[in-house]
């Protein structure tokens, strides 16, 4: 079972490259929001998996929880920017 968790964690961390790709490449800012949001979700799972690898899940759950909540705040704040400032591109060159 340890091996399963271990390999799943590796796979999951590799999978995180894809949302990261979306976040890095864009093309719009909103794609980046989406990518960051997805990274957050996957990281939450990965955190708990690491907890299993250390055999002390109870220590990691709090972090995962905080993580999930605060990820939300960050993305919300960023999208609030567009709620109040019009224009995706007009401020940019």
């Amino acid at each position: 079972m340890d091996n399963l968790i271990f390999y799943s964690a590796i796979v999951l961390s590799m999978l995180m490259a894809i949302p990261l790709y979306r976040a890095v490449v864009g093309p719009t800012v909103l794609d980046r929001f989406m990518g960051v949001n997805s990274i957050g979700t996957e990281t939450t799972v990965l955190l708990i998996m690491i907890g299993f690898m250390y055999k002390r899940v109870d220590m990691f759950i709090d972090i995962a929880l905080a993580y999930a909540l605060l990820n939300f705040i960050a993305v919300l704040a960023a999208s609030r920017y567009f709620h109040k400032r019009k224009g995706l591109t007009e401020e940019m060159e």
Partner: protein
């Protein structure tokens, strides 16, 4: 027995993560990509987290039980926040004037 169910759930969760990620790359515009990002937030998270929760319960005691409940709570929270965040992002996109991709007739 529980272990195997948990293992299957985790692998299924990973599979959905993969699916969502591929969708995020392949779909043509931001709005449709959000749909596939939704898979990550819902199915992927749900399955893998419940797998992990089951895995904890494999060795049953009070502490582990509470840990499992906390994992379920994480799911609940993410099910609350994820659609809100998605909604906020979409709203931002609409307000920012990002035109949805439309199929060329």
């Amino acid at each position: 027995m529980i272990i195997y169910i948990a293992g299957v759930l985790i692998i299924a969760g990973l599979f959905f993560f993969l699916v969502g990620s591929i969708g995020m790359i392949r779909l043509p515009d931001f709005y449709s990509r959000l749909h596939s990002a939704g898979i990550i937030d819902t199915m992927g998270l749900l399955l893998s987290m419940s797998g992990l929760a089951l895995l904890i319960l494999n060795e049953f005691n009070l502490g582990n039980f509470l840990s499992a409940i906390k994992i379920i709570l994480i799911i609940v929270f993410i099910f609350l926040t994820s659609p809100t965040a998605t909604h906020a992002i979409v709203d931002a996109g609409i307000r920012a004037g990002l035109k949805p991709w439309e199929k060329k007739q």
